[in-house]
């Protein structure tokens, strides 16, 4: 119960932060007719009408980018999102995502802005400037660490995923070698991912083998994922084709082709966007080891 009160304060602080920076809070549908294809993120299908099927969003990404393309420059949403089969001490099937977008920005700005957000929320609704998480002290008033994927893998996994990408080895070493060795005395940004795991991030102008993607970790928890957004409709179409093909290959039924989204992103200005797991942010700020402890009740207990 005490954590629910803290959760409410944290949510309030997040809203205040964005609203005070002239971001518009929006609501978009949770039940949608298609989604961005993600080989390893599975949506819950909902029977709809006689033979039709709809989906519960795995993130509001397509919804929000369409709003940006239609002219809303700075927006955020706090929404439930759903991912099939993702349940563990740090995962809920139904969880809460904070997602924000801002035009004429990139992933370097995202890192700075994200730092500012975490500092503000912790100072209002957590402990400041040092939080305690699972017996470790995390300093928030020093700059967060910034470690490139190449640097992290060279240091802890002993190979270069940018030079020689292998999807399974990358995920395995990320979980077994990199994540457990990340420094814990401050939050950490991992950035510059191999282009093969770009998802909807733009290709780096500096090095074409990299994607302008960033992930935030604190206390060993992966908190957020952000991109300099891909705004090239042609490149986007190609990536969707590849991802739909990968989905079919591993035996998953592809979602309907996101035609409306692909049409709308032709008007999308350069922008950056980030998605943060709010339940996990609450975990870190309230010293909770298990995600069940920061929600009113996990869905399977109702």
């Amino acid at each position: 119960m005490k954590r629910l009160r803290q959760r409410a304060l944290i949510l309030q602080a997040v809203r205040n932060f964005f609203i005070s920076h002239d971001f518009l809070e929006v609501q978009t549908p949770v039940l949608v007719s298609t989604l961005a294809p993600e080989p390893y993120i599975e949506a819950i299908e909902v029977p709809f009408g006689n033979n039709d099927v709809r989906y519960l969003i795995t993130s509001p990404e397509l919804n929000l980018k369409r709003l940006v393309a239609e002219g809303l420059d700075h927006i955020f949403q706090i929404t439930p999102a759903f991912r099939k089969n993702e349940r563990g001490t740090k995962h809920l099937i139904e969880f809460t995502l904070l997602e924000w977008y801002s035009v004429q920005k990139d992933y370097i700005w995202l890192m700075e802005y994200c730092e500012e957000l975490i500092r503000y929320v912790a100072s209002v609704a957590g402990n400041w400037p040092v939080i305690q998480y699972g017996g470790i002290k995390i300093r928030l008033d020093e700059p967060f660490y910034r470690i490139s994927i190449q640097e992290a893998f060279a240091k802890w996994a002993g190979w270069d995923p940018v030079l020689d990408y292998d999807a399974y080895r990358f995920d395995l070493d990320m979980v077994e070698q990199v994540e457990p060795n990340l420094p814990v005395d401050r939050p950490v940004f991992l950035f510059d991912y191999p282009i093969q795991c770009a998802a909807l991030a733009r290709r780096s102008k500096r090095d074409g083998r990299l994607a302008e993607r960033v992930e935030l970790y604190a206390g060993g928890l992966e908190l957020a994922n952000g991109y300099s957004e891909l705004t090239d409709a042609e490149e986007q179409t190609k990536r969707f084709q590849q991802d739909f093909a990968r989905m079919s290959k591993i035996g998953r039924r592809p979602y309907p082709w996101p035609a409306a989204f692909l049409k709308s992103i032709k008007r999308l200005l350069p922008c950056a966007g980030m998605a943060m797991g709010l339940d996990r942010l609450v975990m870190v700020l309230t010293d909770a080891m298990v995600i069940d402890d920061v929600v009113a009740c996990p869905s399977e207990t109702i």
Binding site: Y40, I41, E86, T89, Y168, D171, L172, E176, C197
Partner: protein, 187 residues
């Protein structure tokens, strides 16, 4: 047959022909990557632990384990002999399999024998057992500080620490989980 998504603490599965119990479990999903199931596993035959990470969709056979109440008969050069008092069937476990339980094992004691595919692999003692002291020197006079102890040899040959007032021939209640003295049993 189990699937990776069935993995959780306490699940018993077969790996390379050996029974393992999942002692720790973490569901992981790095970034946009695939689901990974990280397990700490304990070999139920040898007690050794190992770390394994599985992908989704991997299959496991459940470890076919049975627990049977049995009576300890005797120990000889072949090992420790137990009998199922319902079916009058006897099984033998090696000293290694019995492990530390041998320190508290007395003839006619009822224990639980664990079978993996009909092969006995381990025993579990009752939480409390009663054993007689066969040798213990009198406590040193004057050394009466609270908590002072002295060694005592039990009828199994095992030596434990007991309070100074314990005498030879007395029967003691022992906690087999910790191997420690609990109290004196009045006869």
């Amino acid at each position: 047959m189990y699937d990776s998504s069935d993995l959780r603490k306490g699940l018993k599965i077969v790996i390379d022909g050996n029974p393992y119990i999942v002692t720790d479990f973490q569901f992981s999903k790095p970034g946009k990557g695939q689901a990974l199931y990280r397990c700490k596993l304990k070999n139920m035959m040898t007690g050794y632990t190992m770390d394994r990470t599985y992908r989704s969709g991997e299959k496991f056979d459940p470890a076919n384990l049975d627990e049977v109440k049995m009576q300890f008969l005797y120990k000889d050069g072949d090992g420790f002999h137990f009998m199922d008092t319902q079916k009058y069937e006897q099984v033998t476990l090696t000293e290694e399999q019995v492990g530390e339980a041998k320190n508290f094992l007395k003839e006619n004691m009822e224990v639980t024998v664990l079978f993996f595919d009909a092969t006995p692999i381990d025993i579990t003692l009752p939480i409390f057992v009663e054993l007689q002291v066969t040798k213990s020197d009198p406590g040193v006079r004057g050394d009466t500080a609270t908590g002072a102890t002295k060694p005592a040899t039990l009828e199994t040959g095992y030596v434990i620490q007991v309070p100074l007032f314990i005498e030879e021939g007395e029967v003691l209640k022992i906690d087999t989980r910790t191997g420690e003295y609990v109290e004196r049993v009045k006869r």
